[in-house]
């Protein structure tokens, strides 16, 4: 049977014999309705293309928030056998280590009270967004090298923040020399800036706890105020990906690799091109973690200005997770290079990769909803290691194009609507705001329910927006 079919209530499969060039099956975590949307927008074809990559093991996977991308679908996961399986820069994406960081404030929404609007305003002043991209921290060359090598530690991150960051905010093997001058030039001055598109900083309130013990372990309580930061490696990461997609596109013939889509350009991880990309990607990932650190520092300054120094000092980092990255991990005794493109690592309790404080609970995962809707805190579950190379979803997932969203609503109207719901919005662009309208995304509740039923991650807490600063 080479047609797509359900394996169980949350897993669908296109068998490897559906196309002569597929090496493994393509599998999608979804309920029937989400699967239909994924099959409709071309992402299933893209996932089947991923299944053709040399060295891929198990299956090419898509999460329930998957949607059409370029090369890989967004929400795709692919694990390659090392040393000779391929690495594909397009399988990580242009925004290397785009990810999310959650800060927990030492106050409840009731205590925040009437200072909410002031805090959102101060966050928007403190964190450069959108076109204000060149107003970030200027970095001298040797400082940038340190950021690329070490991540947040190079800009003075506390030991506690570093501990509560995936991979300690520093991927091994990062080499600043593998990052082009052009990439450095694009990244110069962008540290501590949010960027545009779907990036945001959101002020939130915790409204529901699903798992008391884990929420307490993560330091989260009912009615608590949180700040969720979504950003990545900015122009530096975009250029690293562009450089290496082009380099691998030119080199593939030498390795005898033929692909159904040029954007999947790849080379063996053990090749000079593969090694150079992994060194540059690690540097860009470290830059992204430092960027979210700098934004967190700016958020703490805003908190200090509005709520006082004690509140800023008491603002703890819950965790920071990457959405776009390739990492070496071990499964069943094999060393694999796991590409996550719009997917989150979700290791279960017991993993050495999890901070000691969370090791009995599972790794925290944050799933932002669309603007104006809920976000969820999850914890990694054992099923992720068994079924999805330690991965889960990363967001709600787009279902409507940007132009489609703009046709349905004007940014100014959306701003008013959100305001009427009590959500304070700060955004430099009405056009950008309209493109991120909630109806352009799938329902995050549905996506999260699927990964829980599939055993990849469990729900811990639900957060709702109080205010949002958009890029």
């Amino acid at each position: 049977m080479s047609e797509p079919h359900a394996i169980d209530e949350t897993l669908w499969e296109v068998p490897a014999d559906a196309r002569p060039d597929m090496r493994v099956p393509a599998r999608v975590f979804a309920d029937a309705e989400l699967f239909e949307a994924i099959a409709r927008d071309g992402s299933l074809d893209q996932l089947q293309n991923v299944a053709t990559l040399p060295g891929i093991v198990g299956a090419a996977l898509a999460m329930p928030d998957a949607h059409q991308g370029y090369g890989f679908p967004v929400g795709g996961v692919a694990a390659m056998e090392l040393p000779d399986g391929v690495v594909s820069p397009g399988g990580v994406g242009y925004d290397i280590n785009c990810g999310v960081r959650l800060l927990a404030l030492p106050c409840s929404e009731a205590e925040l009270g009437g200072r909410r609007e002031s805090l959102v305003h101060e966050l928007s002043r403190a964190i450069p967004a959108g076109a204000g991209k060149r107003h970030g921290r200027a970095r001298r060359e040797h400082e940038l090298d340190a950021v690329l090598r070490e991540g947040p530690r190079a800009i003075g991150a506390s030991a506690d923040d570093v501990e509560r960051t995936e991979s300690g905010g520093c991927l091994p093997g990062a080499d600043p020399a593998a990052v082009s001058e052009r990439a450095r030039e694009r990244g110069a001055g962008q540290l501590g800036t949010m960027g545009s598109g779907n990036h945001f900083v959101e002020l939130q309130r915790l409204v529901r706890i699903f798992d008391e013990e884990t929420a307490e372990g993560y330091g989260l309580a009912h009615d608590q105020v949180t700040v969720l930061i979504h950003s990545g490696s900015r122009g530096l990461g975009h250029q690293v990906c562009s450089d290496y997609v082009q380099r691998m596109d030119a080199a593939m013939r030498r390795y005898g690799i033929e692909l159904p889509d040029r954007q999947l350009a790849c080379a063996p991880a053990s090749s000079p091109e593969g090694g150079a990309y992994l060194a540059a990607m690690a540097a860009a990932a470290n830059f992204a973690w430092a960027n979210r650190q700098a934004i967190a520092d700016e958020a703490r300054s805003a908190i200090a200005a509005v709520l006082g120094q004690a509140a800023a000092k008491g603002t703890r980092q819950v965790y920071d997770v990457a959405h776009n990255v390739a990492k070496v991990e071990r499964y069943d005794g094999r060393e694999l290079l796991v590409h996550r493109k719009g997917a989150t690592r979700a290791f279960p309790a017991g993993s050495d990769e999890i901070p000691a404080a969370y090791r009995k609970l599972g790794q925290p995962v944050f799933i932002p909803g669309s603007m104006g809707t809920s976000s969820f805190v999850l914890a990694g579950e054992p099923g992720s290691l068994e079924r999805s190379f330690g991965s889960t979803c990363h967001g709600a997932g787009r279902t409507l194009s940007r132009t489609g969203a703009r046709k349905q609503i004007h940014g100014a109207d959306l701003r008013r609507q959100l305001g009427a719901e009590g959500i304070v919005v700060r955004s430099p662009s009405n056009k950008g705001l309209a493109e991120e309208a909630p109806f352009a995304y799938k329902q995050v509740e549905r996506v999260v329910e699927v990964v829980e039923r599939a055993g990849l991650a469990r729900r811990v807490a639900q957060l709702v927006p109080l205010g949002v600063v958009k890029g």
């Binding site: 370029y70 967004v74 994406g93 545009s196 997609v245 040029r262 954007q263």
Partner: protein, 131 residues
């Protein structure tokens, strides 16, 4: 000669039809200018650019990549070309525009569904931009 934006769930797909190869590059510039321009302004700045590529497709990607780079690193908003020379594996151009606050909109130029081919009497091209 025209360009248009095709529906894509998360990115922007650009389709161009033109009478000549060089007009494809001109239309790509016009499309990019539409994306980054906020307000009309005097074209007070000039940039001389030269990009290379192994084939027509990669040359088009390199051309758009250069525009992304100038917009992001220098705030250069292109408006028109005063000179445009398209040769084998090479595009040279003089761009006129202004330095301002371009919309930080295009992250990258992808190779996904990339096309640059003869079409009847003219040429057609397709490129997906990551935004």
């Amino acid at each position: 000669m025209a360009y248009r934006w095709v529906e894509h769930t998360s990115e922007l797909e650009l389709e161009i039809e033109a009478a000549s190869e060089s007009a494809i590059f001109l239309e790509a510039l016009n499309a990019f200018a539409e994306l980054v321009a906020e307000e009309p302004s005097a074209d007070s700045e000039q940039r001389d650019v030269e990009v290379r590529g192994d084939d027509r497709e990669t040359l088009l990607v390199a051309w758009l990549d250069e525009l992304v780079f100038l917009a992001e690193s220098q705030g250069f908003v292109p408006e028109r070309t005063t000179e445009l020379e398209v040769g084998a594996g090479l595009v040279r151009a003089t761009l006129r525009g202004h330095v301002g606050e371009p919309r930080d909109f295009v992250k990258a130029v992808t190779l996904h569904r990339l096309l640059f081919a003869a079409n009847g009497d003219g040429w057609q091209a397709r490129v997906v931009l990551d935004v």
